[in-house]
């Protein structure tokens, strides 16, 4: 290699570990740019902020925030379509919930390798720490990710590099191995200390993981979706809507997504033309989207359920406007369902 400055592409999730890894390599005089992958499942500040109760939280994209703190460029890559295969057919299976972490890591590092090749970069860095996560960050899985992604020894994990075989950037002297780390285990203490040393604060600390697939309730909703459809497939709209509202499946062939408050109501409003939808007219109440096929009896049942979540829940009768997909609204006059009549099993998630 010529004397040009080495160039590294860093996977930036928006969390602390990938931020520290990138910073450690920047400090060694390497040119670093960040990649962030949008899968549709990402825990995103704005998706949370749809809900009114979360509106006070700062609405920032954490990966962009990290890039700004580090003074690096960040490229956000839309992987929604390609990522479906990772979620639907993970070769290494799922973690505790529907999170295919090992396949996901291999996929992302593989995308980073393609980007590295196309943009004439030299190596890839991630914020992985051995033993940090139960399945995807074990010493024996580290080479799996390196091999399956095709990155091989151009994949450097600065936070645990000294526990692993030296990689190409270390052997070539692009980075000094002695200034890398040897962290392992679940403790967050070394990360906190290094963050403090770098003067970094206000970083995001997602509980559990970087995406909704580590969320038990979300995972149950995804499994329910596949079961009801009789096949494992999804569209972006499906997985966005799994983040919203109460999901109730009173019959195997349809479910209702009932908004919980104004923010969700506004968001779901944008989807109403794609679904049969219901909204109370005689009383204040939520918008509900009906996913599946519903006959006349099903619509009556759905209307009674929606009435149960309206301000008319204690009234004798509630009028509910029902608009079938592509049709005109018509009103049903129904008795709201009593809370006790809604079986717990109808709630999905």
């Amino acid at each position: 290699m010529s004397q040009r400055q080495p160039r590294a592409v860093a996977l930036i999730s928006g969390g602390l570990d990938s931020m520290l890894a990138a910073r450690a390599i920047l400090d060694q005089g390497v040119h670093v740019e960040g990649l962030n992958f949008y899968t549709g499942f990402c825990v995103e500040g704005h998706t949370h902020a749809v809900r009114d109760k979360d509106r006070a939280r700062p609405k920032r994209n954490n990966a962009l925030w990290v890039a700004e703190q580090l003074g690096i460029k960040l490229h956000i890559i839309d992987t929604v379509e390609e990522y479906k295969d990772v979620v639907i057919n993970p070769r290494h299976g799922y973690g505790q919930f529907m999170n295919p972490c090992l396949d996901c890591k291999g996929f992302m590092v593989g995308k980073a390798r393609q980007w590295m090749d196309a943009n004439d970069f030299d190596f890839i860095i991630t914020g992985e720490v051995i033993g940090q996560r139960p399945k995807s960050q074990l010493k024996r899985t580290m080479p799996v990710i390196a091999q399956e992604s095709g990155a091989n020894d151009r994949l450097l994990r600065p936070l645990c590099a000294r526990l692993l075989e030296p990689t190409l950037p270390e052997r070539e002297g692009w980075v000094d191995r002695e200034r890398l780390f040897d962290w392992s285990g679940r403790s967050r203490k070394p990360q906190m200390e290094l963050a403090e040393r770098f003067g970094l604060d206000d970083y995001a600390q997602p509980a559990g993981g970087c995406c909704f697939l580590t969320d038990p309730s979300y995972s149950r909703k995804l499994q329910d979706l596949w079961k009801a459809r009789g096949e494992r497939r999804y569209e972006l709209d499906d997985i966005m809507l799994l983040k919203m509202g109460r999901h109730l499946r009173p019959r195997p062939h349809f479910k209702l997504i009932v908004s919980r408050e104004d923010g969700e109501n506004r968001f779901m409003h944008g989807y109403r033309r794609q679904f049969t939808h219901l909204v109370p007219t005689s009383h204040g109440g939520p918008l509900a989207l009906l996913d599946g096929d519903a006959g006349a009896e099903d619509l009556e049942l759905a209307a009674r359920l929606v009435a149960r979540f309206s301000q008319g829940r204690d009234a004798e009768r509630v009028r509910v406007a029902v608009t079938e997909k592509g049709g005109e609204p018509r009103e049903l006059d129904v008795a709201p369902m009593a809370a006790d009549d809604v079986p717990q099993e109808w709630y999905v998630g």
Partner: protein
């Protein structure tokens, strides 16, 4: 004569898709060119300027047009 701005229509998309659309459009544009992003997700008010800052592009205005936000961006020289 000044070239017309390139319009990137990301109405109805949630962040970060509007940012990705802007990024992909700018990748093929000349320095100094102008992009107008149309979006409905209020998140763009934070994310697009942040993305522009890290890439050196300039947000010249954010206009509210009914339910639509128009973000006017000048590609870096």
């Amino acid at each position: 004569m000044l070239a017309e701005p390139v319009i990137v229509d990301a109405r109805g998309l949630l962040c970060p898709m509007p940012v990705i659309r802007v990024q992909d459009a700018i990748a093929g544009m000349s320095p100094g060119a102008e992009v107008h992003l149309l979006a409905t997700d209020p998140g763009v008010q934070a994310d697009v300027p942040a993305w522009c800052r890290v890439h050196g592009h300039r947000v010249e205005a954010v206009l509210e047009e009914g339910d639509t936000l128009r973000v006017c961006i000048r590609v870096r020289d």
